[in-house]
Amino acid sequence: MLIRRPPDIPSAEITDEMLYWNRREFIKAAGMGVAAAGGLLPSSIPSLTRADEKLTPYEDVTGYNNFYEFGTGKDDPAKNAGTLRIRPWKIEVAGEVKKAAVYDFDELLKPYTPVERVYRLRCVEGWSMVIPWLGIPLRNIIDRLEPTSKAKFVEFTTLYDPQQMPGQRQGVLDWPYVEGLRMDEARHPLTLMVTGLYGKPLPNQNGAPLRLIVPWKYGFKGGKSLVKIRFTETQPQTTWNLAAPNEYGFYANVNPEVDHPRWSQARERRIGEFFKRKTLLFNGYAGEVASLYAGMDLRKNF
């Protein structure tokens, strides 16, 4: 059952949600904010969620997770992810890329200062959260690695180690977990390589030390605890798509018009609320990302 456990971090050390909001207001008031100062964002990005959307409490963000490597129950990751060793952590960069190598986590990310982004997270199961992530726009990392002209897609692989990840001892999915993006999706300014949330390093159950967040796609597109980034010419074979091709497509863009074969995607339950709210096209980021899919049949390319 989904019973609250005391968080590992004393609550006094967790930034209060209100402080977060005030800080965001301050950043907005101070100009375009940290992220825009880096010259990375179009001017529309500070309004990543509406003012009437509250941050999902830290306890829910870190206590209600889909991370099957630690079990299929929503509270399993928080219970079991303590066995994950996040240092030292190696990330292999491979495929159609000039700077292919095995990087140490800290070495790969040293050149960057994480930015804060408050995004909606919409799970394909029909629930959602609003989460203040800390991370690095993926395009900054990609550009430094210099993909070749053949690189059309990026593939992300999660750690495979049943010793550390007890869920991998069961064959619920084909391990390791693999996800992928088209190059233009990966280089979109909203796509974030996440290293933290609520101003803290990423908890293990949320995909430490490094995970992907693509806010206009269903949550499963965001691979966790990544150990490999591969640039490819052909579309990667992704885990959920292989597990149930008619239910989970490669694109997995949030779309209230395109139902999951077994349930409606028209509405979602925001964690903490009882009644459902309407799901927004591209999770509310249509203004930023719809042009990526111009002319595409979103029903066919679900």
Binding site: M1, L2, R4, W127, A243, R262, F275
Partner: protein
């Protein structure tokens, strides 16, 4: 104490209390703020599990009588069956109110488009006439044979209930398959007994409509 007295003085009072345990757990968990994440899903899981467990228990009564000869145990079946029904009402209510905001058109569309909703709804509809005719008066009015035939709907309800669970699960089907396996074993025992796998106990012919006291 006679065996019948054990049922009325011990087993039934215990079951009355037991029937309230899932509800108490639900309310305490919700109001104390223990529940992580999706609170409505939590309500639906607790009530849905309770329905399935109760349905399997009612279906276990006859096999237990056949295998042990403890015929008095039939007296708790109505109580367990009605517990299943009341939790099914709660389960359905959370869906109608919180998932669909009582919108008739949304509910109708959901039932027609999604097989797991349809079988869940069908399972509930099967339980309604069983709950209504669970009284001694109705047993008398219908007559034992007809009453018994009507109440075979519980097989349909149990199968539909397990399918409902199986079809909604995203990937890990271990929980619904466990219910399905128990159901299969219970059916297998019935068939085995019906084929003369065990000598019918002297009193077992009394199944006709001897209502629970």
């Amino acid at each position: 104490m006679t065996r019948a007295a054990i049922i009325t003085r011990v087993v039934k009072p215990v079951l009355y209390v037991a029937a309230l345990v899932p509800l108490a757990y639900l309310l305490v968990a919700l109001f104390s703020g223990w529940v992580m994440g999706d609170q409505v899903k939590f309500m639906q899981h607790v009530t849905g599990d309770t329905v399935l467990v109760c349905l399997l228990l009612t279906l276990a009564i006859t096999p237990v009588r056949r295998l042990t000869g403890w015929n008095e145990i039939i007296r708790v079946r109505r109580l367990i069956g009605l517990t299943a029904f009341w939790y099914a009402c709660l389960h359905l209510t959370t869906y109608l109110v919180f998932d669909q905001s009582l919108s008739i058109s949304d509910i109708a569309a959901d039932i027609m488009e999604h097989p797991w909703v349809l079988v869940g709804f069908a399972a509930f509809l099967c339980l309604v006439p069983l709950a209504i005719t669970s009284t001694n008066g109705w047993i008398r009015r219908l007559g034992g044979k007809r009453w018994q035939r009507l109440h075979r709907l519980v097989y349909v309800a149990a199968i539909a209930g397990v399918l409902h669970y199986l079809w909604l699960v995203k990937k890990d089907v271990s929980a619904p398959l466990t219910y399905g396996a128990v159901l299969l074993v219970l059916f297998a025992i019935r068939i085995w007994v019906a084929r003369g796998g065990t000598k019918p106990h002297a009193a077992s012919r009394q199944i006709r409509a001897k209502p629970a006291a």
